[in-house]
C-alpha cells in the first residue's frame, strides 16, 4: 500500500466515518476554541464565557441525545470503530457521552449560579472543564491501551489545574500539588503496567485482549505460576492502580480528601462524579475485553475477587473515616470514596460472573450488574451534585464549608435543607430516592454473583453493613441542619424559594426522587447500554 493511499484511506476514514460520530467531542472542542478566541478578541464583555459554555454544553447534550436516539432505536447493538480502532462508538459510549454532557451542562449551570470562576477567569476555567470532560468521554470510548492512557491524562491534567484554580488559597494550592503529584505518580505506574500488558500480549488493541490472553494462557499452565501470566497480572494490577486513582479506591484514595478540601465545592463535585464515571467506563471496558479468555479464568476470578476486596476496604474505610469530619467537602470526599466502593461491587460481581465457566450464559446477569452500575452512576450524578451544590450555595453566603456553617439552616434556607436531605438519604440508599434503586440493583447483582463465587456473599454483607455505617455521618449533618438551632452570630443564608439557586437544586432533588419512584426509563436505558456491550463482546 502506498503512503498516499494510506493517507487517503485515513482521511476518508476520519471524515466519512469517524468525525460524524465524534460530534459530541467536537462540540466540546469547538466550545473550548471559541471561548479562547472570544477572549483573544476581548469580546468577553459581550459574550461571557459562561454563556458560551452553556451553549456548548447544551449542544453537546443535544448531539449526544441525537446519537442516543439513533443508536438505541436499533434493534441489534451496533459498534463502530473510530480513528482506526482507537475509539469505539457503541451504546455504552453514547450512554456515557450523554451522561457526561448532561453533567457538564449542570456543572456549568451551577458554576455560573455560584460564580466560582470570576468573569476574568471564566474562559480558562470552562476550557479546563470542557477539556477534562472531553478526556472523560474519550475514556468511555477508548478501545486501545494507548487511548486509555491518553484519555486518562486528558482528563487528569485539566483537573489538576481546576483543583488549584482558587488563586491565593493555601489549601487550594496544597490540594492541587498533592493531586498532581499523586496523579502523575499513578499515571506513571499505570503506564508501566500498560507497557507490561501490551508487551506480554503483543497488542495494545483492547478488542484483541481476550484472544491474546487466551493464547498466552494456552502457552503456559494457565495459572499465575506461569511467569508471563504473572507479568500480565502485575501489569493489569498497575493499570488498575491508575484507574483506582481516578476512582479513589483504597489504597489509592489519599489524594481525594485533600484535593476535595482544597478545591471549590463545584470542582470537587465535578471530580467526584465525572472522573468517576469515565474511570468506571474504562474499567468496565477493560474487564469486558478480557472476558472470555479461555484458560485465564482463574486469573480473572482472582481479578474479580481482588476488586471485591478493594471494594470492601474502600467502602468501609470511606464510611468510617467520614465520621469525625467537620469540613463538608472532606466528608463528601470520604462519602465519594465509599460510594466508589459500592460501585466497584458491581464490577467485581461482573468479573466474577464472567469468569465463571460453569454458569453457562451469563450475559444477562452480567448486563444487569452493569446496569446497576450505570444506574447508580446516573443517580449519583444528581445526588452528589445536589449535595455539593448546596455546600457551594451555603459557602457563597457564609464563606465556610464546615458542618458548623449549616447548623440550624432549616430556619433560614429550608429549600437547601430539604434538597440536602433528599440527597443524603439517597446517598444512604433509602427509598423512595434513586440511591436506593441503584444500590438495590448493585446488591442484587452481587447476590446473584454469589452463585459463582461465595466471596460475593461476604461482599454483600459488607455492603449492607456499610449502608448502616454510612447513616451515622450523613445523619449527623442532617441533624445539625434540622434539629439544632442556628448560632446567633452565624451569617444568614438568604436563599429564597423563588430563585435560580432553588430551582437548580430542586431540579436535582426532583431527579433523585424521580429516579427512585420511576426508575423504569433509566433502568431500561442503562440495561440496553450494558447489554450492547456484553453482546458485542
Amino acid at each position: 500500500m502506498l503512503f498516499s493511499q494510506l493517507i487517503t484511506k485515513l482521511i476518508q476514514d476520519t471524515t466519512e466515518k469517524s468525525l460524524p460520530l465524534f460530534g459530541v467531542e467536537l462540540c466540546l472542542c469547538v466550545t473550548i476554541v471559541l471561548m479562547l478566541l472570544v477572549r483573544l478578541f476581548s469580546a468577553d464583555r459581550v459574550l461571557p464565557a459562561c454563556i458560551t459554555a452553556v451553549v456548548g454544553a447544551a449542544a453537546a447534550l443535544t448531539c449526544s441525545w441525537l446519537q442516543y436516539r439513533e443508536l438505541f432505536a436499533q434493534s441489534a447493538p451496533v459498534s463502530t470503530e473510530l480513528f482506526t480502532g482507537l475509539l469505539i462508538h457503541d451504546n455504552f459510549t453514547v450512554y456515557f457521552r450523554a451522561f457526561l454532557s448532561l453533567f457538564l451542562l449542570l456543572t456549568v449551570a451551577l458554576t455560573s449560579l455560584t460564580g466560582i470562576p470570576d468573569e476574568e477567569d471564566g474562559p480558562d476555567f470552562y476550557s479546563l472543564l470542557f477539556g477534562a470532560t472531553l478526556g472523560m468521554m474519550l475514556m468511555a470510548s477508548s478501545n486501545s491501551l494507548l487511548m486509555l492512557f491518553i484519555a486518562v491524562e486528558m482528563a487528569s491534567v485539566p483537573s489538576y489545574a481546576m483543583v488549584g484554580f482558587l488563586k491565593g488559597q493555601k489549601s487550594a494550592s496544597e490540594g492541587a500539588l498533592k493531586y498532581v503529584v499523586y496523579g502523575a505518580g499513578a499515571a506513571g505506574v499505570m503506564l508501566y503496567g500498560i507497557s507490561l500488558v501490551a508487551g506480554t500480549l503483543g497488542t495494545a488493541d483492547m478488542s484483541l485482549l481476550s484472544e491474546r490472553l487466551a493464547a498466552v494462557a494456552a502457552d503456559g499452565s494457565g495459572g499465575l505460576g506461569d511467569p508471563e501470566l504473572r507479568t500480565f497480572a502485575l501489569g493489569l494490577l498497575m493499570i488498575l492502580a491508575g484507574l483506582a486513582f481516578k476512582l479513589s479506591l483504597v489504597p489509592f484514595h489519599f489524594w481525594c480528601p485533600d484535593a476535595f478540601e482544597g478545591a471549590s465545592a463545584e470542582v470537587a463535585g465535578f471530580l467526584s462524579i465525572a472522573s468517576k464515571a469515565g474511570a468506571f467506563a474504562l474499567l468496565v471496558r477493560l474487564c469486558i475485553s478480557m472476558a472470555g479468555a479461555e484458560g485465564a479464568e482463574t486469573l480473572l476470578t482472582a481479578f474479580g475477587v481482588g476488586l471485591g476486596v478493594i471494594s470492601i476496604i474502600t467502602m468501609t474505610l470511606g464510611n468510617l473515616a467520614a465520621y469525625g469530619q467537620d469540613n463538608l467537602k472532606r466528608l463528601l470526599a470520604y462519602s465519594t470514596i465509599a460510594h466508589a466502593g459500592y460501585m466497584v461491587m458491581a464490577v467485581s460481581a461482573m468479573v466474577v460472573m464472567l469468569s465463571d465457566t460453569a454458569a453457562g450464559d451469563v450475559s444477562r446477569s452480567v448486563a444487569s450488574a452493569m446496569e446497576g452500575l450505570l444506574y447508580y452512576l446516573f443517580v449519583y450524578l444528581f445526588m452528589n451534585l445536589g449535595a455539593f451544590a448546596v455546600i457551594a450555595l451555603v459557602r457563597n453566603h457564609t464563606y465556610g464549608e464546615t458542618i458548623g456553617d449549616v447548623r440550624g439552616l432549616i430556619s433560614q434556607a429550608p429549600v437547601l435543607c430539604v434538597v440536602m436531605l433528599v440527597c443524603f438519604f439517597s446517598l444512604v440508599g433509602l427509598p423512595p430516592f434513586g440511591g436506593f434503586v441503584g444500590k438495590f440493583f448493585i446488591f442484587a447483582a452481587v447476590f446473584n454473583a454469589g452463585s459463582s463465587h461465595s466471596f460475593m456473599y461476604v461482599l454483600l454483607a459488607f455492603g449492607c453493613l456499610n449502608t448502616v455505617f454510612s447513616l451515622f455521618y450523613y445523619i449527623r449533618v442532617l441533624k445539625t441542619m434540622f434539629l439544632e438551632t442556628r448560632d446567633e452570630d452565624a451569617r444568614p443564608v438568604p436563599v429564597q424559594f423563588a430563585s435560580w439557586e432553588s430551582a437548580f437544586v430542586l431540579t436535582l432533588a426532583g431527579f433523585v426522587i424521580l429516579l427512585g419512584v420511576a426508575p423504569y426509563v433509566m433502568s431500561t436505558t442503562a440495561n440496553s447500554a450494558a447489554q450492547a456491550l456484553v453482546m458485542l463482546q
Binding site: 446496569e371 438519604f425 444512604v428 433509602l430 427509598p431 423512595p432 436506593f436 434503586v437 438495590f440 440493583f441 446488591f443 442484587a444 447476590f447 446473584n448 452463585s451 454483600l460 454483607a461 449492607c464 453493613l465 449502608t467 448502616v468 447513616l471 451515622f472 445523619i475 441533624k479 434540622f482 434539629l483 420511576a518 426508575p519 423504569y520 433502568s523 431500561t524 440495561n527
Partner: protein
C-alpha cells in the same frame, strides 16, 4: 369502588393532602390542622369502606397490577385480605386520633403535618403492598418522617432516640433486603419473583427454596421484623423512641408501627419460608415468652410514666410473637400437630396486635394528656389525679385495664387466646407466659395508684391541672369504646381474620411438609 382506586387512594390521599398543605398560609396553623385532620379522617372512612367491601370468604382482595420497574419484575401490586385489613383500618383510626392529639404541637406545624401525613401514607403502603419490593420501599419510606418527627418534635434526648430508632430499623431492613434478593433469584427473576402471593404459593408447593436456604432467609427476615416488633434483645430502641417522641407519634409508634413487625412475620416470613419458620419456632416462642417476662419486669422498675408504657409494649408484643410461633410438627412426617391451636395462637396474636393498637395508643395518649399539663412524667410525682381530672382518670383507668388484660376489654382476648393455646406447644413456656398476668397486673396497678389515686398531686405545676377538654375526651372515648367492643364481641375481628389466617397457616403447613419430604429424599439419596 374499584379496589385499585380505593387501595391506591388509601396510600396517596395522605400524600396529596401533605402536598396541598404547602398552599396554606404559614401562619394559619389552625386551618392546616383541621385540613390534616380531615385528610386522615377521610382516609379512615375509606378504610372502613374497604372493610365493608371486603368479603372474608373470598380471600385476598386483589387490585389491578401496574408496571413499575418491569426490567426487574417490580410491580405496583396492591391487595388486602383478612390479615391486613384490620391493620389498615387500625392505621386509619390511629392516624386520625393521633392527628386529633396533635393540637399540642405548636412548633413548625406545617412541617409536622406534612411529615405526619407522609408517615401515614407509608404505613398504609406497608399493609397494602403485595409486592415485596413495594413493601420494602414503603417500609423504608416511613423511616424518614419518623426520624424527623421524633428528632424535631421530641423530648430532650430526641436526637439520640431518633437516630437509634433509625439505625435499628435500617439494620433490620438491610437484612430484609438480602432476604428479598434471595427470593428474587431463587425464584428465577421472573414476573412473580417479587409477588408475595405467588411466592407464597410456590413456597407452599415446596418449589421455592431448599430447606436450608429457607432457614437462612427466615432468620434474615425474622431479625428485620423482630426489631420492629420489638422482641428481646433488639428492643432497646423502643423505650427511647417512645419516651422522646411527642405524644401523637408515640401513639402511632405503639399503635401501628410495632404491628408491622408482626404483620411482616405473618405476611412474608411464614408463608415464604415455612420450613424456616417451623425450624425456628422454638426459638421464637422462647424469645416471645422472654420478652413478655422481661418487658414486664422492666416496666415494674420504671419511674418514667411513658417508659413504663413503652416497656409494657415490649411485654405485650411478646404475646404476638408467642402466638405466631406455636407451630409444632411431627418431625418425621412433617405433619402439623396442633393446627387448630396454632391457628388460635395466630388469630390471638393478630388480635393482640389490634388490641395493643387500641390500648397502648390510649395509654400513650393518656400519658400525653397529663404531660401536656404538668410537663413531667415522674411516676413518683403524681397522685390524686382522680380527684382533679375525674373523667380523664376514669377513662385512663379503663384503657390501662385494657392493657392489663381485663376481660370485657380488648387486651384480654388476645393475651388469653395466645396463652391458652401455648400449652399444646410447650407446657413450661406456657406456664412462664401465663405468669406474665401477675406482673402485668403489678406494674399497671402500681402505676395507676401512683398517678391517679392518692390524696393529692405531689409534683410541680399543680396549678396547670385542668380537666380534660372535649377533644381529649373524644379521642379517649373512641378508644375506650373500641376497647370494649373488641373485648365483648371479638368475633367482629375474628370473622374477618380467621379465613385468611387459616389459608396462610394451611399453606405454610403444606410447605413445611413438602420441605421435610425433600429433606427425607435427600437423606435417602445420600444413604444410597
Amino acid at each position: 369502588m374499584n379496589p385499585f382506586l380505593l387501595l391506591s387512594l388509601l396510600i396517596f390521599l395522605p400524600l396529596i393532602g401533605a402536598l396541598l398543605l404547602l398552599i396554606f398560609d404559614e401562619k394559619n396553623t389552625e386551618a392546616m390542622r383541621f385540613w390534616s385532620l380531615g385528610v386522615t379522617l377521610v382516609t379512615f372512612i375509606m378504610s372502613v369502606v374497604l372493610w365493608g367491601q371486603y368479603d372474608p370468604a373470598q380471600g385476598m382482595l386483589l387490585a389491578d397490577v401496574a408496571d413499575w420497574v418491569p426490567s426487574w419484575n417490580v410491580y405496583y401490586r396492591l391487595g388486602v385480605d383478612g390479615i391486613s385489613l384490620p391493620l389498615v383500618v387500625l392505621t386509619g383510626l390511629v392516624s386520625s386520633l393521633a392527628m386529633a392529639a396533635s393540637w399540642s404541637i405548636t412548633k413548625h406545624v406545617r412541617g409536622y403535618l406534612i411529615l405526619f401525613l407522609m408517615l401515614e401514607a407509608g404505613m398504609m403502603g406497608v399493609f397494602l403492598s403485595l409486592d415485596f419490593f413495594l413493601f420494602y420501599v414503603f417500609w423504608e419510606v416511613m423511616l424518614l418522617p419518623m426520624y424527623f418527627l421524633i428528632g424535631v418534635w421530641g423530648g430532650p434526648r430526641r436526637e439520640y432516640a431518633a437516630i437509634k430508632f433509625f439505625l435499628y430499623t435500617l439494620a433490620g431492613s438491610v437484612l430484609m433486603l438480602i432476604a428479598m434478593l434471595m427470593f428474587y433469584f431463587v425464584s428465577g427473576g421472573t414476573e412473580d419473583s417479587f409477588n408475595l402471593v405467588a411466592l407464597a404459593q410456590r413456597a407452599s408447593e415446596g418449589t421455592l427454596m431448599s430447606p436450608s436456604m429457607q432457614i437462612t432467609a427466615f432468620i434474615l427476615l425474622f431479625i428485620g421484623f423482630a426489631i420492629k416488633l420489638p422482641a428481646f434483645p433488639v428492643h432497646t430502641w423502643l423505650p427511647d423512641a417512645h419516651v422522646e417522641a411527642p405524644t401523637p407519634i408515640s401513639m402511632i409508634l405503639a399503635g401501628v408501627l410495632l404491628k408491622m413487625g408482626g404483620y411482616g412475620i405473618i405476611r412474608i416470613a411464614f408463608p415464604l419460608c415455612p420450613y424456616g419458620a417451623q425450624y425456628c419456632a422454638w426459638a421464637m416462642v422462647a424469645i416471645g415468652v422472654f420478652s413478655i417476662i422481661y418487658g414486664a419486669f422492666a416496666a415494674l422498675a420504671q419511674t418514667d410514666f411513658k417508659r413504663l408504657v413503652a416497656y409494657s409494649s415490649v411485654s405485650h408484643m411478646g404475646y404476638v410473637l408467642l402466638g405466631l410461633a406455636i407451630w409444632k410438627i411431627n418431625e418425621t412426617t412433617g405433619e402439623t400437630l396442633n393446627s387448630d391451636y396454632w391457628q388460635m395462637g395466630l388469630n390471638g396474636a393478630m388480635f393482640q396486635m389490634i388490641a395493643h393498637g387500641v390500648s397502648s395508643t390510649g395509654m400513650f395518649f393518656m400519658v400525653g394528656v397529663i404531660y401536656d399539663r404538668v410537663h413531667h412524667r415522674d411516676l413518683n410525682k403524681f397522685g390524686g389525679l382522680m380527684g382533679l381530672m375525674p373523667l380523664y382518670s376514669g377513662m385512663a383507668a379503663g384503657l390501662f385495664f385494657a392493657g392489663l388484660g381485663l376481660p370485657g376489654l380488648c387486651g384480654f382476648i388476645g393475651e388469653v387466646f395466645v396463652v391458652i393455646s401455648t400449652w399444646s406447644f410447650s407446657p413450661p413456656l406456657a406456664i412462664l407466659a401465663a405468669s406474665g398476668v401477675i406482673l402485668t397486673a403489678g406494674y399497671i396497678l402500681w402505676a395507676l395508684q401512683r398517678v391517679y389515686l392518692g390524696a393529692e398531686y405531689r409534683g410541680p405545676h399543680a396549678e396547670d391541672i385542668t380537666p380534660s377538654n372535649g377533644r381529649e375526651n373524644a379521642v379517649a372515648a373512641i378508644l375506650m369504646v373500641l376497647a370494649v367492643v373488641l373485648g365483648v364481641y371479638p368475633a367482629v375481628l375474628f370473622d374477618v381474620m380467621e379465613p385468611s389466617i387459616r389459608a396462610m397457616a394451611e399453606a405454610s403447613a403444606e410447605g413445611c411438609q413438602n420441605a421435610i419430604f425433600q429433606l427425607d429424599q435427600l437423606q435417602a439419596s445420600i444413604q444410597r
